[in-house]
């Protein structure tokens, strides 16, 4: 992706925006990019705890917006990867403290004055001012979707709003895919979701309980290499490489189809 400022969004809540922001941000930083992840969910701050940096928040995005501190004072450097940085949001204010103009200026300053290579903006759920402000500073978007009815419908709405904003690079991450359910025909396949939503794919992340464990301890799973393989962590690392323009093959999460499926295909073709 050419976009240096990328909004992570979904419409629906609870599909994995914050987890995706933390993991993709960490993986990009591990690949050598100077990355800042920004939490824009004013009043419902969470990116700090997911990344394990909650103890170090002094100033936040709204303090920057309202001139109580310099931008540099609000940037928190990660303890594991020194190119990874967090700009937390305010937990005590509400969305009315956001401003599209200040958001754009802050992102510009991060990229141009502070020398960041990439800014990931974690959007709040919904389609109101919080989302609009998060999207206003972005030239690319990662739309996170779960393969289920309400998430797909909300993603379609969000994609429409991103297109209305003329954001040039909109990419889809299918999160929490359960291969065994896809195999049974009880969950949408990747191709189904792509056909319905009509945007380019950039990642498939399998459901993985180790994501919850990694958030319990505040350490992004994409940073865990070696040891038992964390499937979702590896998928987030692949997404980071694809954002950087690498052509990374998709691992097959689907088991080979059964003999009847094969027969059906043979007869169906006749």
């Amino acid at each position: 992706m050419n976009a240096k400022a990328i909004v992570v969004t979904s419409g629906k809540g609870g599909v994995g925006k914050t987890t995706t922001t933390a993991n993709v941000g960490a993986a990009l930083a591990r690949l050598g990019e100077k990355v800042c992840v920004i939490d824009t969910d004013v009043g419902l701050r969470n990116l700090d705890v997911v990344m394990g940096l909650e103890g170090r928040v002094v100033y936040d995005l709204i303090d920057v917006f309202e001139g109580r501190c310099k931008l540099r004072q609000a940037i928190i450097r990660d303890k594991r990867v020194d190119t990874l940085h967090l700009l937390a949001t305010s937990q005590t204010r509400d969305k009315s403290a956001l401003s599209e103009e200040r958001m754009r200026e802050t992102v510009r300053a991060l990229l141009e004055d502070e020398g960041f290579d990439r800014v990931l903006i974690d959007s709040p759920a919904g389609i109101e001012s919080g989302f609009q402000t998060a999207a206003s500073a972005a030239s690319g978007a990662l739309v996170v979707v779960n393969p289920e009815v309400s998430s797909v419908r909300d993603a379609d709405r969000i994609i429409g709003l991103l297109e209305a904003r003329e954001i040039p690079e909109v990419r889809l991450i299918i999160n929490r895919l359960r291969p065994e359910m896809v195999k049974r025909g009880d969950m949408l396949e990747v191709d189904d979701v792509l056909e319905i939503l009509g945007v380019k794919l950039i990642g498939i992340v399998p459901e993985d309980e180790r994501i919850l464990i990694s958030t319990n301890i505040g350490s992004p799973a994409s940073l865990e290499e070696g040891g038992p393989k964390v499937a979702a962590g590896a998928a987030f690392r692949d997404i980071a490489r694809r954002i950087r323009g690498e052509d990374v093959a998709y691992p097959s999460f689907e088991q080979p189809k059964g003999i009847f499926a094969g027969l059906r295909r043979v007869f169906g073709a006749g």
Binding site: E148, V149, V152, R153, D156, R157, G160, V182, R184, G185, D186, M187, L188, E189, D192, I196, G198, F260, A261, L263, R264, F267, G268
Partner: protein, 79 residues
């Protein structure tokens, strides 16, 4: 037919059809209710010119490439 013999009705296929339908209404900013009304009014006009009691009418919006189109399949009595 073989699909019916070998496979049960997959829930994901039902979901896919439901999503395609609901998203076509969402994208056209049309409620299923006003779609029904449109259909009724359309049929009143059609029946005025082609009296018929064939009830096999189909009116829907669907995605064709980049745009949404209104597709109406209205059999007329040619005899």
């Amino acid at each position: 037919m073989l699909r019916n013999l070998f496979g049960r009705n997959k829930s994901k296929d039902q979901l896919k059809e439901r999503l395609k339908l609901v998203l076509s209404y969402d994208r056209a900013k049309l409620s299923p209710g006003s779609m029904e009304e449109l259909k009724r009014e359309l049929l009143t006009v059609i029946k005025k010119y082609f009296p018929s009691d064939d009830g096999d009418y189909d009116v829907k919006v669907e995605q064709q490439g980049d745009r949404m189109v209104l597709v109406a399949n209205l059999p007329v009595n040619a005899s």
